[in-house]
Symmetry: D2
């Protein structure tokens, strides 16, 4: 067995401060992504009220392109109010129709983001982080311009893209169930 | 620069067949996990009909322990029929109460798995696989002993554990929304 | 408990063919990435022989930018022949100097890729795939224009980027140890 | 579109403190795993000196079983001093032979851990964390009972198992290259 010897002093000289790369998702990044989604929804409503549906649609396209992962592949999106047989919106077109309506291919869509939302708040029940993907489940409360609040049960799964931004790959939203 | 030379013949002799470890989830594993969940639900119903709630509860405990990831931490579980303020069942106890009822801490739970289910079928709309975690979204159809079918919108996220078995870390189920 | 009923026939009609996104790395992708690295090395040697070091350097820059992950952060690169205190090349500049030399900041680097390599072959001993990251370990055999073969022990770790391409995040190469 | 209204006050009441599961690896966990490996090496040396090879071997088995991932599949292990054709130790038996020798199937192994090591120190050059897997590259300095120091270039990749413990899936160690 051949091993080479250097002095301890020399060994200490080459101690280094490691460069670190970490693509794990943090809770702070999750909060930022959720707040970004909420703020975008309110902003689309405000744009619609001020400048009309065409402007709201243009904004919604920009929001979808930056917050969802449709450019990477299908997104697992079950919006709150879609109905059979168009329940799932795995394409960008289906998501856009849901948010701002006006697409004859989706005749039941009236535009969820056009409902005069003035506030949107997330209350996470639980978070699951596994490296560069993270999932959340909780309540989201939407307030409209009359002060009415709608609450949904919402699950999101995010992935971190190469630029370090979180993108939505799963989004399941449903009205609360009520006993009867 | 010092490099050592060996003959090409010697180099070829050490070509190897690589040993491979792969913890990525396949679509076949996803299908197996989904069918396992469906079959377990039907089996709990059958056990309840034949042997009563206590036997159904014992079976449900075994199913939860093998199919969900509660032993790893909180599970993001929003069952179909839970109501506020007990919507989310991030603990094993909450999941068990939902499936078989009989827990005074969850007074609204009557036991979803006790509804005489005789068939359960998955129709995936989309699948997202990211290494050792995978998510699915789609319809699940439950048939009871009278032939009635209930359909839910369901999102699952699985992780592969150290033994190579898929476990549920996210489960969001909701009745289909209907236009009105 | 309120559940809605639809007929079994209707349920079957909505069975879907799932859209699938999968970012897991396959063995075929690993093989392609390894062969790409080998081919690039031989091509840099050929370019140097034909067109000189400047042309080889330009090609090496292109190879580094497409095959390594320096644009994402530090790369854990221990080339075969680097010496203390410049053993590790966590920056793009350090990698480029190693492959083509000519950088006064790295005076010991004579350009590994300029050694008239005419063939390069990978023999994996083992592969570890964990979702969108995969590691390999094995022998790599380099043949020069005189037919001499140099063998190194090499470990690579790849990640799959947003475009689906593998990039090197870890690269540890060392001459074979010989008993004495 | 049917949405149900609740008051803002009620919405605020159900704000929750999320339960969080996170399997991402932290730098602190990496440091702990590296120090654990170093301490185990020194301890095996001490056990050998005090109680002989059989006791050292028993300890080494325990260390391998808790620090490496052989129970999950092949490990990509290239020890510092192995020679062809037994360079790579993808099995538990090969690792044990390297650390404590005495295995006729590995005649060149004299037992790296039996060299009277009294200290072992890690100096990371760079770290790459991707969720539940993390890689490190750097120098490791071994000091023996005579005060001589041996330095190696070492790459480790860890995964976090279901119990939250880091396990080694890749280990490439090589003597420093010297110019000549």
């Amino acid at each position: 067995m051949k091993i080479r010897y250097i002095t301890t002093a020399a060994a200490l000289l080459i101690a280094m401060n490691p460069a670190t790369a970490d693509d794990s998702i943090t809770e702070a990044e999750i909060t930022t992504a959720q707040e970004g989604w909420c703020n975008a929804l309110v902003e689309i409503s405000a744009t619609n009220a001020k400048s009309g549906q065409a402007a709201a649609k243009a904004l919604a396209e920009s929001v979808i392109d930056s917050a969802y992962a449709y450019q990477m592949g299908p997104v697992l999106f079950k919006p709150t109010l879609t109905v059979n047989p168009q329940t799932f919106r795995t394409t960008r077109e289906g998501a856009l129709a849901y948010f701002v309506g006006g697409d004859p291919a989706y005749p039941n869509d009236t535009g969820f983001a056009l409902n005069d939302w003035t506030a949107c708040e997330d209350d996470n029940a639980a978070i699951f982080i596994s490296g560069n993907t993270a999932s959340t489940m909780g309540k989201v409360h939407f307030t409209d311009s009359k002060g009415n609040v709608t609450t949904v049960d919402k699950t999101w799964q995010f992935v971190k893209d190469d630029e370090g931004q979180l993108r939505i790959v799963v989004h399941h939203s449903s009205l609360e169930h009520t006993a009867d």
